[in-house]
Symmetry: C2
Subunit: 275 residues, 2 copies
């Protein structure tokens, strides 16, 4: 018998993609969204929940036979309104509020821990739609040896950034770092490289550089993986890069057909990279 | 008796400032510039040297009684033209070329080592003009407790970036990293924050954020310290920041009077920070 799945849907493109995959696979499932963060999915109609009433929501999942949970999409940190907290959720608040101060990773680990304490299995998007997380290999184009060296240097930088709990991306060309990702995100970094770094490659005929993305070292890979989508390819092309690489197994590729077509048209390589 | 000083002058504002300080102090000195990198100083007329003829240049310094050397200003890595190398400099090339591949820090350390092997004392800009490197303390304005927390987080990030051998600056507001310095430099990072991060501060009435600069951990402080000048203040103001802080003793403040006046006018604090 198939287990029932709950899709906890935040914002962005990923939740709808997973909802379609669940429907296509005929997986028995429900969708839930946090009050104030509409996910845009309407079939099935989402169950709404509030952080202040997390325990009644977990009971609701159990009552409906849910055994497996996938969390996808962005949720900005909700305000917790004290007067709405039910007594059983109140006992969890110290755990959540303690994690609030420690950054997103700690908070997400705590949320996963609570779901697991309720007997639910938390899985990543790749368990629902494996095609979103391509295994190692070049998908499009042909990276040169110089590109491969730039990917290695960028991977080292992204790993260092991750340990600082900042961004999940970097741009490197000819061994030089042209951009580092911070709060404004990947698309903003690519606009920066396009605007500020066009003339900084020492050899104008040399390697044009790569965008590299990876999760933070030690990050729970079931949640909040970095994504690459059509806008990433457009941004990388505008920044004059040779291609996009990412840590194999650690990045979600959204709208893969569009991404591959756009990369081919722009002459960019796409490389699911393993060290 | 006063020792004779050689100012090895690269490009940018700092060499001329040091030349004026040397003249003002009545220090017996000469100026040297690398062929192809004019420093703009004309009194005294600079001695020209080439990397390929480094040993004859070192002899020239000794012949003129030079005992102390200060290096200031930017020099892009020169090409080494093999046919111009004199036999004695040729014996040094393995040392220099080995360091070429290891990054700017390694190369500068090697150059300092060669000057020291020739019996010269290499000093930092602060030995010539101590007012360029202010000791710890707030110079302008009054940072809040929230600003102090942002400075601490930014200092942690810049230290991490330095270990990766990337940039020497970061912008943090309300604990969040809005920008990280890479090859395009501080002014480019501030344009990025102005363009991409204006709406990303979670509390619109909270701390507006700080620019922090520091040398790389382990960097030789006699050379290549990060600088702050009037353009840094203008950029920080345009990025909507509350102030500028830097590691006390590790940053050169160019045109200090202008910098302090501009910061006062823009309502920014200036903080020579010690942990």
């Amino acid at each position: 018998m198939m287990t029932k799945t709950a899709l906890i849907a935040g914002q962005g493109a990923l939740p709808a993609i997973l909802a379609r995959a669940l429907a296509r696979n005929g997986t028995d499932h429900l969708v839930a969204e946090m009050e104030g963060f509409p996910c845009g999915i309407r079939a099935p109609e989402p169950v709404r929940f509030r952080i202040e009433r997390l325990v009644p929501f977990l009971d609701h999942l159990a009552d409906h036979g849910v055994e497996r949970v996938v969390m996808a999409g962005a949720i900005r940190r909700p305000r917790v309104e004290a007067e709405l907290v039910d007594p059983r959720t109140a006992t969890l608040l110290p755990r959540l509020i303690g994690a609030f101060g420690k950054g997103d990773d700690a908070l997400l680990r705590e949320v996963i821990g609570i779901f697991e304490d309720w007997g639910l299995t938390v899985v990543g998007a790749d368990a629902i739609a494996p095609e979103l997380v391509p295994p190692a290999g070049v998908l499009v184009g042909q990276p040169s040896d110089a590109d491969a060296r730039d990917v290695e240097r960028a991977a080292e930088l992204v790993s260092g950034l991750g340990r600082l709990d900042v961004g999940q991306g970097a741009v490197v060309a000819q061994g030089l770092c042209l951009g580092l990702e911070s709060l404004p995100g990947t698309d903003a970094m690519l606009r920066f490289v396009a605007a500020e770094a066009a003339d900084l490659r020492p050899d104008p005929n040399g390697a044009r550089g790569v965008l590299f993305k990876a999760p933070k070292p030690g990050q729970d890979r079931r949640i909040d993986l970095p994504t690459i989508g059509p806008e990433t390819v457009r941004g990388a092309a505008r920044a004059g890069l040779a291609g996009i690489a990412w840590e194999a197994g650690g990045v979600i590729l959204l709208q893969r057909e569009d991404v591959e077509r756009l990369a081919t048209e722009a002459g960019l390589f796409l490389w699911s990279w393993a060290p």
